[in-house]
C-alpha cells in the first residue's frame, strides 16, 4: 500500500524529522530501509558552521532538550553528498535555513537545483542567535521568506513552523497564501533551560535549548489542529510521536504525514516501521482508513 503526497508516491506516512541522524546518504538510506516513508536532511545553511559546544543534546526522560546550534557544512560544501544522493532510491526533503531573506533564497535556489523531492524551509529553529526563529513568529517575515524561496525553486515547498508563534495558524495561512505547498509543524518547543545545581551552570553549553519528544506532543497536536482549520494545504505533523497511536492522534488533528525525531532515541532506528505497522494494525482493527480519520477530531 503506498500513498500520495504532493504528487509523489510514498510507501507510508512516516517522515524522518530534520536534524535527526540525517547527516549523510548512507544513514538516510538506512532510515529508509527501516521503514521511513520520507527522510529529511539535517538543515543546510548558508555557510559552514560548527554549531555549539557540548553538551548540545540532553535526555530529560519524557523528551530531550537540544541546542545543537544549526551545524552545517554550508550549502556550497556538499558536492559529494549531492552526488551520492543523485543515485538514491528513496524520496528526500532538503531542509534549509538562512539568516536573511536573501540567504534563504540563495540556499534554496542552489539546493533546489540538486533535485531533492521537496525543499523545507526551517523558519523556526530556536537554537541559534542569528538564525531562524525570528522569521517564523512574525507574519510579514514568514511571508517574505516564503515568497522569495518560492520564486526561485521548481520543487514543492514545505514550511516548518515554530509553536512559539503567538498564532501559529495565522502564520500557516500566511505561508499558504505566499505559495507554500505544505506545512511542517512543529519544531522544538520553548526554549527551555536545565541548570545543574551542583555547578550552578546551565547544562547546555548554549544555555537554552528546544524541547522535543513526548512532553511536547500536546502542543504539537494543538498546533496541527489549529493549522488544519486555517489552511487547505497538507500538514506534516510532528512533535513527540512515539507510537502508531500517537500518529493516529496527529492525523486526527489534521496531519497528512507524521514526522518522527526524538522517538529514534526511545524505540530505535526502526521506529518508523514500528509506527507504520502500529498505525496499520489500529486502522485495520477499527475497520477504518487513513482518509476516514484525517482531521476526525474536528467534527463536533
Amino acid at each position: 500500500m503506498s500513498i500520495q503526497f504532493l504528487q509523489r508516491t510514498l510507501k507510508n506516512h512516516t517522515v524522518l524529522a530534520s536534524g535527526i541522524l540525517g547527516n549523510s546518504k548512507d544513514i538516510l538510506e538506512r532510515v529508509y530501509e527501516n521503514g521511513c516513508g520520507l527522510v529529511t536532511l539535517k538543515s543546510i545553511g548558508p555557510e559552514q558552521r560548527d554549531g555549539h559546544k557540548n553538551p548540545t543534546v540532553i535526555d530529560l526522560g519524557c523528551g530531550m532538550i537540544n541546542a545543537v546550534g544549526l551545524p552545517s557544512p554550508g550549502y556550497l560544501n556538499m558536492e559529494n553528498e549531492w552526488a551520492e544522493l543523485e543515485n538514491r532510491n528513496f524520496p528526500i526533503i532538503a531542509s534549509i535555513y538562512g539568516g536573511s531573506v536573501d540567504e534563504y533564497r540563495r540556499v534554496a535556489e542552489y539546493v533546489s537545483a540538486k533535485k531533492p523531492d521537496f525543499i523545507e524551509i526551517n523558519i523556526s529553529c530556536p537554537n541559534s542567535e542569528q538564525h531562524g526563529m525570528i522569521f517564523g513568529i512574525n507574519r510579514e517575515s514568514s511571508r517574505d521568506v516564503v515568497s522569495a524561496v518560492k520564486s526561485v525553486i521548481s520543487i514543492p515547498l514545505i514550511v516548518k513552523l515554530t509553536p512559539q508563534a503567538p498564532d501559529i495558524a495565522d502564520i500557516a495561512k500566511t505561508c499558504e497564501d505566499a505559495g507554500a505547498d505544505a506545512i511542517c509543524a512543529i519544531n522544538t518547543v520553548g526554549p527551555g533551560m536545565v541548570i545543574d545545581i551542583e555547578s550552578g551552570r546551565p547544562v547546555l553549553a548554549f544555555k537554552k535549548g528546544g524541547l522535543s519528544g513526548p512532553m511536547i506532543k500536546p502542543i504539537a497536536v494543538r498546533c496541527v489542529f489549529d493549522i488544519y482549520k486555517a489552511v487547505s494545504i497538507p500538514i506534516i505533523g510532528l512533535g513527540g510521536i512515539m507510537t502508531g497511536e500517537d500518529a493516529i492522534e496527529m492525523i486526527m488533528a489534521g496531519a497528512s504525514l507524521v514526522g518522527i525525531g526524538t522517538a529514534v532515541r526511545y524505540r530505535g532506528i526502526d521506529v518508523f516501521k514500528k509506527v507504520a505497522d502500529e498505525m496499520d494494525a489500529w486502522l485495520k482493527s477499527h475497520n477504518l482508513s487513513h482518509t476516514d480519520i484525517k482531521g476526525a477530531a474536528h467534527k463536533d
Binding site: 544513514i27 539535517k42 540532553i58 537540544n66 532506528i269
Partner: protein, 272 residues
Amino acid sequence: MTTKPITDQKPVMLRVTNKKMENPGYATLFFDFNLIFKPGQFIMVWIPGLDEKPYTISHHSKNKFAVTIEAKGIFSRKALTLEKGDLVGIRGPFGNGFDIRPGQNAAVVAGGCGMAPLATLVEGLPESITFIHGARSKDFILFPDRFTIPREFCTDDGSFGHKGLVTDLLAHRITHGKPLDMVYTCGPEIMMYKVFELCETHGIPCQVSLERYMRCGFGVCGACVCGKQVVCKDGPVFHSKALREMKDFNKKALLKSGKEVDLSLYFSWRCQ
C-alpha cells in the same frame, strides 16, 4: 551528590577523588562511584563552562571508576589540570562495549591511549591471551605495571620493546602458536585498520573501537555516523562483519559541521 544513579540522561556531578599522572601527557582521573558498565562502553565527561567529550572507562571496580585522558586539544588539556575535589558531570554509559567471548586464544592489540578501553577488558580475559601494546615511546606506555597477563611491547622509536608497529607483533603471533579466535583492538584508526586487514587475511574475527565526533551519545543527532553505522549507539565497538561494509572506516569522518572529510583532515581539524 554521589548517591544519584548515573544515567544516559542529564549529567550527574562527581568530584575527582584522585588523579594520577601516567606520564606528562596522560592523566587518570578517579571517581568514587558504583558505575554499571561493560568494557568498551563510554561516558560523556562534562567540564562545566567548557565542553563535554566522550571517554572510555579505564579502571573499574565496585565503588570506583576512572577515565584516562591524553592531552590533545583544549578540552583534554584542561582535563589534565583537574585536581582532587573538582566537579565534573558524567552521563552514560553509552554504546555497546566489547562482545566478550570465552575463547582462550584471543589477542588484544592496544595503540597509545587506545589502551584505556582495553584495560578493563584484559582484566576479564584468561591468562592465555596474547596482549600487544604499542606507543610512540617508552614514556607513553600506559599502565606499564598494571596487568598480571604478560604484554609484548613495541614503540615507534624503539625506546621500549620491539621497534616498530603493533601489526608486526600481531603478524608474528598469527603465524606462530595456536590459531587466534578473536582480536580486540583500539588505537589510532589507521592502526586498527591495519589490524583489521591482517585479521581478514587470516580469517580471524576482530572487534575494533571507533572514534568520531559526538554530541548526544545515544543515536539521535547523527554527528558520529560512519557509513550506515551510528558509532555512539551501534558501536563504538564493531565486528568484522560491520567493518567490511563500512566504506568510511579509515577513510572519512564528519567534522563538527557535518562536513564529510578525509580522516587525516578530520584529525587535524580537531586540533582547534
